[in-house]
Symmetry: C2
Subunit: 228 residues, 2 copies
Amino acid sequence: MPAKRTAPSARRSGPQPTPAELRERILSATRELLRGRRFDDLSVADVLAAAGVSRASFYFYFPSKQAVLGELVRDAVAQGQQAARPWIAQEKDPIAALRAGVSDGARLWRENAGVLMAIVESWGSDEGLRDLWLEQMDTFTEAAAARINADPHARERLGSMDVRAVAASLTWMGERLYYLAAAGVPPFDDERVLIDTLTNAWTSALYGATVTRAEAVRGRADKPRSGT
Amino acid sequence: MPAKRTAPSARRSGPQPTPAELRERILSATRELLRGRRFDDLSVADVLAAAGVSRASFYFYFPSKQAVLGELVRDAVAQGQQAARPWIAQEKDPIAALRAGVSDGARLWRENAGVLMAIVESWGSDEGLRDLWLEQMDTFTEAAAARINADPHARERLGSMDVRAVAASLTWMGERLYYLAAAGVPPFDDERVLIDTLTNAWTSALYGATVTRAEAVRGRADKPRSGT
DNA sequence: AGGAGACCATACATAGTGTATGGACATCAA
DNA sequence: TTGATGTCCATACACTATGTATGGTCTCCT
């Protein structure tokens, strides 16, 4: 009997020309295809053709199309965890840090639009993707909640509000707005509007401050200016 | 040649036992099935069985499964337009009206959870549903923006922020939170938390007021006080 | 050399969508 | 009554997609 379906993990003892780089080829082909097509318009056959891999090999490495997406999402989000780092770590003026985090989020979404749009559109239809995405959102929520609780100003402003819930609502609002931006839905297709609006939502909820665009642009810590 | 595929609309001259109540049966069967199952776990065959209608009849009245959902959504959202009425019409204290609107939204979502969850999960994958949903969200956004512009207090608070964008962000945040609540995702599965959080998001963005839960519960019916 | 593991080609079972065909039956007009 | 029209049903088909199964090939390692 052929291919006894053993674990595809480390099993070899010596070097090999193409150990499991097929796995990588599948991942990156999927990532590329997702750049121009929606996840459920993407068939396994398409991935096969793009990756130059056989059907059998595909299913040897991944149990399903969804599993591939899951892995791509984990990769992408791992970067995202760092985007919120500055604000979380209380490294500088909270509002400036918040804006920086929102901007980094926008960049992350711009660079991984295909993958992230795919997960947002699909986590409702697949148990595994659902768990993955809820866990990711929860991680962000948890971090934001901890940060809020450590900030007397924000803490006081929220009064008896459920801090966790406020953090979650802002996190999910971000998910929605970034998605809409990636999908080209106005007015969020304009990155400046996206960042201003999202930053404002966070600051007005936590600090009661409304940062106008003018102030925002002036107060921007870094220099990643968007188009014109 | 049989069934010449004429328009299914009013074509008859006299009374008939079952003119097009089949159409209605299909709609309500789908609505019921959606109460316990996700839209894409629902096959046309399931609807056929539940409605007691043949496959041919189904496709005589509807071009697709999505079209049925579209019609159900229009029905449900028509009620929703009224939920926002009090605040939009400036009928009373804006914060109280806002909370009332958010509560009505929650009720609407509770009563039409199946249909609304279905559209939220599916508008990304179908052109028609996408247009429908974006149009609905736009209607809410437009109304909110108009209301904000008519309110000097809110208008001033937003400074140079893009009013339309702020209105859209709050609308979409609502979409997300109601959906999460319907899907049973904590902490929004607790309706009190959902309403408090969402109301707070609107009030803190527009009026700079944070309404705590205690105040909220006390003032729920008619006269809440704004925070601080 | 020969065995094992990685890979491929192909075919299959299953399930879903939307279309096509032909027939049953009721109403209405003549 | 007859026949045309229009509504509806049963069934079958064409197509697409997923995930599995079978067997063969190549290459490296021992």
